[in-house]
């Protein structure tokens, strides 16, 4: 029972992590929380549904197109909206409010186009369970777990070992200095949005396979946001640790205490943790600039 809960928790945490790293990456570059991020996951899942169920493409291809869709929407948001707001020199909170507006738009569009009905992928993974050491583990959970782990390892490699990652870290450190040293800031930011959007797309499809696809499913973005704050805003490893913690905590609370109090515990954990450690687990202590 314990092991089973733990694995389920980690696999949900993995889905959160795919989204939370996106929040962290964008926060580290632009100092704002991208509220529309959860909607990228929702849209990615809908793209995949359209291609898989309505067009009838093979599932893998449809999923890939869904991921691309999520990435594309994220990229367009940066290109058309966020960049424009940044260029007006408005404070960062305007970016956040713009993102809330975008989030409303996407949710409503999904609602109007696909109606509020719950949809599921026709393609079914084997729902059977495997028994390991007395615990029954869902195949879907395991696949999602492995896939998430591979993607996150790749992401960490990308950030720490490649030229692209170096650019991103330089911009996070000081955007103006990076620009002076020849980093193409806007281009790197756009690529980060592409990357974050595609991660969100993967998360959306995994979540949609586990549960259903519906217009308000972007609300998992809220959980991921909480996770990235727990881990420390702007820190990618922090976001991953925070997500796993949150996923495991949620499953244990639902399993042992009460599923209707699940959200209460996650948010209470958040508040208590921030009071003890004001910048999250891995966050750097930020001081407001004078």
């Amino acid at each position: 029972m314990f092991l089973q809960q733990l694995i389920t928790g980690i696999s949900i945490g993995g889905i959160y992590a795919l989204l939370a790293t996106g929040y962290s990456l964008i926060y580290s570059l632009l100092d704002f929380s991208n509220w529309a991020h959860g909607e990228f996951a929702m849209l990615g899942a809908y793209f995949a549904i359209v291609f898989a169920n309505m067009v009838g493409l093979p599932f893998m291809l449809a999923a890939l197109l869904g991921v691309c869709g999520g990435a594309l929407i994220s990229f367009l948001c940066e290109k058309l909206v966020y960049r424009h707001i940044r260029s007006t020199g408005a404070p960062n909170m305007f970016l956040m409010i713009g993102a809330m507006g975008l989030s409303t738009i996407f949710q409503q569009v999904a609602n109007l186009v696909f109606t509020g009905q719950y949809r599921s992928f026709k393609f079914k993974l084997p729902v059977s369970t495997i028994e390991i050491a007395g615990a029954y583990l869902g195949v879907l959970d395991l696949i999602s777990l492995v896939l998430t782990a591979v993607i996150l390892v790749f992401l960490i490699y990308l950030i720490n070992k490649t030229k692209f990652g170096l650019n991103v870290r330089a911009i996070a450190c000081n955007a103006n200095a990076a620009r002076v040293l020849g980093v193409r800031v806007d281009r790197s930011i756009a690529s980060v949005f592409l990357l974050a959007g595609s991660l969100a797309g993967v998360a959306g499809i995994l979540y949609g396979m586990k549960y259903n696809v519906f217009p308000t499913m972007g609300n998992i973005g809220l959980k991921a946001f909480v996770a990235s704050v727990v881990g420390g805003l702007g820190s990618v490893p922090g976001a991953i640790v925070g997500s796993l913690l949150l996923g495991v905590l949620e499953t244990f609370v639902s399993g042992y205490i009460s599923s209707s109090l699940r959200d209460f515990f996650s948010f209470a954990l958040l508040i208590v943790l921030l009071l003890v450690k004001p910048s999250g687990l891995f966050g750097v202590d930020v001081q407001d600039k004078a």
């Binding site: 713009g98 809330m100 738009i105 009460s258 004078a290």
Partner: protein
Amino acid sequence: MIEVFNSINNAVCGFLHINPYIQGVVVLVCINVIAILGMAVLTGFTRLFSFGNAGFMAIGAYCAAILIVRHNFNFLIAMVIGAALAGFVAFLLGSLTLKLKGDYFLITCLGFGECVRVLLNYFKKFSGGSAGFPGIPNYSSMLFSVICAILAFFIAWRFIHSKYGRNLTSIRENEVAAEAVGINAFRYKRLSFTFSAVYAGWAGALFAGYMMYVVPTNFALNKSIELITTTVIGGLGSLTGSVLGALLVTLLPEVFRSLSNYRMLIYGFAVVLIIMFRPNGLYGYKEFSLKRLINRLKGGKAKTGKEAA
């Protein structure tokens, strides 16, 4: 007491030929105006974002409802207690969380608001759970709501144009400099946070009397987001702008009933476009003044009017 107010209200409405539908719309406008004035004092004048104001509304609404229905309190006293309780909770929460920076403060508010909602859902005996809390008498008549809204605006206006309000503005403009001239930024932030929660509680209590029935989903995160975005649409740092925003956001959907499916979509687009092209909102930093309006209408004198302002 309620009967007295309601019969005066009926007499006035009957005299002015205001039908019940319009009365309902006016009550809703007044409720939103009060909630948004609270938000404007916090966000417009201190640049703090609270995603917890729906939670404070819930506290005000449930407190007033439970006192009236279960303990037979006078509705005026129940409303005051509801608003005061919301303010008190905000004072405690703010004492803990206002030292956090930027988004960290924001997310603790968000967490608080969601906690309130989940707890109201969970403690069925106390709050009626997700089925809601019924049987509240209808005390939010049009007359009473309008009086509340005018009073709320008057108090907020006096507050912002007092020494406290100026201190808040200085914190918004530059916190470090404000601290340097001896303003205790933490205490003033807590003051404005409490102020905004009292207004939210007030609006919540009115809402309970209007709906005669409260459910936790009335006070979900979306309500907080709506409050914030409306404040931004109206203009940060302008009380009259916020009232205008509240009017627009409540009235437009009523006018365009036939477009009700697209209501939230249009709302989202409005927020994005305003943020992109009029980042200070409709009335950023300026208060509505008759003098300027007349000057602008005269056309030729518009420029001088602007310079004078």
